[in-house]
């Protein structure tokens, strides 16, 4: 793996760090398994990309993307709170509806089922090109990293606030929170909106760094998010709220580096006792990635247990 490949993986990891923080809010804080993100990530990318193509200022495009994705989260919350649909099912319903919505948004650009920024399009990142004499491949991860750090800080301050504490109580014990006079429904709305807003921001950064996304672009977002949260939790065991949120972001970067290693694989063959085992990056990529992630999750605990023996 060379420096370009490495910074590329870090950049993508940082983009998905926002997804990881969003998933942390819904999955861990609110205890709401939210599959909406598989759709709202692409919604963020599509809204931001189409707005930029229409000549809207990239920063305003990002705000629009965040609002659109937050709206998707609110729909899921509404299906759950107002209509009493099971949380997992509510999010699946929104996710599948978003497939069509995303096609519509992307279709605003020449009726295409993908959104592709033109050659040398103006994004929020382009004004920073050449800053400190750094090459573009270094500027992009720095830009995304700065936004991630700001998001980590803001989410941390939010979770420490009174509303944030009420939200945490809601996720830990809904009935107890209600008994304490917390209006839990409102907090689910807020949490789901906030979570998907972060995911949409991730999508908006994705389109601006990658340049394109298509209808399959959001598939697996929830898996990446959950993997990042859980890798972060298992590697950085801490009760400090700021460090927990930061570990979600680091987990995401680490996950991408691991996947990039799996991509480097090519064809690997082993012969064990006359039996030839052949791994091929093309077909076995997901398997190799899964095995590497399992190793990350299991090894720290395993090594820790060894020490205590």
């Amino acid at each position: 793996m060379n420096i370009l490949t490495f910074t590329g993986a870090v950049e993508l990891g940082l983009v998905y760090a926002l997804v990881a923080i969003g998933v942390y809010l819904s999955f861990r804080i609110l205890d709401f398994p939210d599959l909406t993100v598989d759709g709202s990530f692409l919604t963020g990318a599509a809204v931001c990309g189409v707005a930029i193509i229409f000549g809207i200022n990239p920063w305003i495009a990002m705000v629009l993307a965040v609002l659109a994705s937050a709206g998707a989260g609110l729909v899921t919350a509404m299906l759950n709170i107002k209509f009493g649909i099971l949380n997992l099912l509510a999010s699946i319903l929104t996710m599948s509806a978003l497939y069509s919505v995303n096609l519509r948004i992307m279709g605003m650009n020449n009726g295409m089922a993908s959104v592709n920024l033109p050659f040398a399009a103006k994004t929020a990142i382009t004004p920073f090109h050449g800053l400190f004499g750094l090459p573009v491949w270094a500027i992009r991860p720095l830009f995304v990293g700065t936004i991630v750090l700001m998001a980590v800080f803001l989410v941390w301050r939010f979770l420490k606030s009174e509303i944030g504490l009420a939200m945490r109580a809601t996720g830990i014990n809904l009935r107890m929170a209600r008994a304490q006079g917390i209006r839990t429904g409102r907090l689910v709305y807020l949490g789901m909106g906030l979570s998907n807003a972060l995911v949409g921001l991730g999508g908006a950064l994705f389109i601006q760094t990658a340049g394109s996304a298509d209808s399959t672009g959001g598939v697996g977002t929830i898996v990446f998010g959950l993997a990042a949260v859980i890798i972060g939790e298992s590697l950085f065991r801490t009760r400090n709220m700021l460090l927990i949120i930061l570990s979600c972001a680091l987990g995401s970067v680490l996950y991408r580096i691991v996947v990039q290693f799996a991509f480097q694989g090519g064809e690997i063959s082993y012969t064990i006792q006359g039996i030839r085992l052949s791994f091929n990056a093309a077909t076995d990529l997901q398997l190799i990635t899964a095995l590497l992630v399992v190793a990350i999750l299991v090894l720290p605990g395993y090594l820790g247990a060894k020490k205590h023996d």
């Binding site: 490949t5 089922a113 592709n116 996304a213 399959t216 959001g218 991408r256 990056a281």
Partner: protein, 319 residues
Amino acid sequence: MRRFLISALAGFALGSSAVAAEQVKVALTQIVAHPALDAVRKGVEDALAQAGYRQGENLKYTYLSAQGNISTATQIARQFAGNQPDVIVAIATPSAQTMLSATQDIPIVFSAVSDPVEAGLVKSLDRPGGNVTGVSDRSPVAGHLKLLREIKPDIRKLGYLYNAAEANSVSTLKLLQTLAAEQGIEIVPSAAARSSEVQMATRALIGKVDMIYVPTDNTIIAVLEGASNAAAESQTPLFTADPSSIGRGPFAAQGISYYDAGVETGRLAVRILNGEKPADIAVVTPPARDVFIDLRAAKAMGVDIPQSVLDRATRIIKE
């Protein structure tokens, strides 16, 4: 009022049946909405219009996309088989295959299928035999290798970026490997399972190859900007077999035009509407004459285009 309603209903029923008697029914399905496949559909629609078929007048045209879902494709195939249209157009291999398993008597015209024989759609390209014929988009791989060697004579390792789940890309890879081996070029494949992985798959080739080849792969082509950006960062030239993608980042492209393939497909459908049997119509493979060059991308990727190539290029995007 009541009398008015009855007469209106009667008039509507008579009117619609009168029109229906003259209408031909064409049903079109494609596996997913996607720029290249949409271009094929546009070509089919234009060819039908050129032949004088107008929607609502003498044509009842239905279009359904399977949205990338094979079980939806199966459902569409059953619905089309039940509706008994005069001809069915199926775009891309999975749509054609599911359509064929749903009906063995309604004529099917496929399009954007690389290898119709291997896909089990026809017995042979010259005499399909069954209720199926169509347009193959098999890439002129030998011509591509010749062009790439002309541009970069010292090429030893060629990266191949694709989605291993797309049958067309896998069969092109096999063909490319065979042809390249004869010329002492090694093919280094790198696969992405979905569009969000394309950048990573491209970066996995960086430093390992002299050039990157992108086949007419739905997943890669849909997000070609991402792949091109990643390639340009490391000055690795990226070529594509999809000419409609020129201007989106690759330095050069050569292949069949999907719109033209769609027009050919539409013409086959018209021949069938005029009474010909699919079994007797040979599969059409449109020629790939055009060479497209993007000098902006060539500069970004650090590749010099020889004058001989520029001289025969059909379209050049200037710096």
